[in-house]
Amino acid sequence: MRIGQSQRFDQARPFVALGAVLAAWLVAPVALKEFARASFFEMTAPITVTASYASDLRRFWTLRLHSKEELIEAGRDQARLDASYSLAVQQNGELQAEVERLQGLLRMPPMEHFRFEHARVAQRDFSGWWQRMVIRKGRDYGIPEGAPVVYSGGVVGRVAEVRAYTSVVELISNPGLRIAAVVEGDTRPISYQGAENPVFGAAKGVVEFLPLDVYASATAPKRLATSGLGGVYPAGLTIGRIVHVEASADGLFKTGEVALDPRLAELTEVTVLVPSNPG
């Protein structure tokens, strides 16, 4: 009889242990869980950052294999680009001065200014469930949580977590991310959300609350940009292109499909827009 009871307890022991662990976890204080999360994240960071530096070193040695002729050609192309960008910077300066003069005349509140913090991408994590990347700058460079992240093609996403010397960026293709957007040439705000991330294909997003008079198709796409509402992203940054619209179920608005830039999945460097006057 006793042997039978002992055997039954032995069989139940793993489940009792699991129940005890889960119960202890449920009653553990939130501060302890947050501390554990940060500690475990920092435990993974050295490997992530080291692998990223090793990858940079490999790229450096690969570039060293290029011939001098190739470098001369690349330098010439770069000089041409620099010249056109110098002109654009001069024009931008004049436009900026004009904007400030008009703001002064109209007594408008000053526009938000950002400090550009360039950062290397250390690791990408693009599952069907989430789309994130780790960048090699964190609290050590004053990166704030929620800051917008951009690249030459437009919006990358926003900073979701800031750690000691790395940060996690949530991409615009992430299904959980929503942005207030506008269609180019229109001021009415609409809602953008990351959606499907098909295998071997570019990520997609969806737009909701599109006005009924907005039309777009794959042959005549419409550029989708940030609206500036919500206070996170500056206005006018490209999100993607609306390639399909259809009437929503209630018939009051349209919904649409947004094609995102395929370069989002291959980024090696991004820029974090750190607000100059946070708060």
């Binding site: 069989q11 793993p14 489940f15 242990a17 889960l22 947050e34 475990f40 993974t44 693009f126 295998v199």
Partner: protein
């Protein structure tokens, strides 16, 4: 607890390798999940306390880098560990094929559990399933491919740590 620490070290290495592979595959939108490998060896070979400790720590490591409630992976891994531990006397657990099959089954169960928890956040659930399916197929293939090497690595690490796993028989 030297055995738990030794196995956790191998799981830490596994997480780093899988993360690097996922980073390299990101341009193709392919993502690998190796949850079954975090659980199989420690549940089939180690005593309950040592194996469960290593599995829980590995789960917390996965939780720290994923946008899920902290403890989700740990709870799922622990549940899978306990389930497998309870069944281990009924299977030929010293056979490598059995260990690989266990890793594949656990991987499938964990993937589906995490998918069902995350899918509610996706705006078009039906459109997300083909991606989930392709990720699952790739993950199972990779787990089947690397499981024998990884189990050998775990056994060798235990030897180096001078931990003698209990005799199977």
């Amino acid at each position: 607890m030297r055995g738990a620490a030794a196995v956790f070290l191998t799981l830490y290495l596994l997480r780093a390798l899988v993360a690097e592979a996922n980073s390299a595959l990101s341009a193709a939108h392919v993502w690998l999940f190796a949850g079954g490998l975090y659980v199989a060896y420690s549940a089939l070979v180690l005593p309950l306390r040592q194996g469960l400790s290593a599995t829980l720590l590995a789960g917390l490591l996965c939780d720290a880098v994923a946008p899920v409630a902290f403890g989700t992976h740990a709870a799922l891994f622990a549940a899978a560990h306990v389930g497998l531990f309870a069944l281990r006397e009924r299977v030929q657990r010293d056979e490598i094929a059995v260990r690989v099959a266990a890793a594949l089954l656990v991987n499938l169960a964990l993937f589906l559990a995490l998918s069902s928890a995350r899918l509610r956040l996706v705006p078009a659930e039906a459109a997300a399933w083909p991606r989930m399916l392709s990720d699952l197929i790739c993950s199972e293939a990779v787990v089947a491919l690397i499981a024998p090497w990884f189990f050998a690595l775990q056994a060798r690490t235990l030897e180096l740590a001078r931990v003698q796993p209990p005799r199977i028989g």
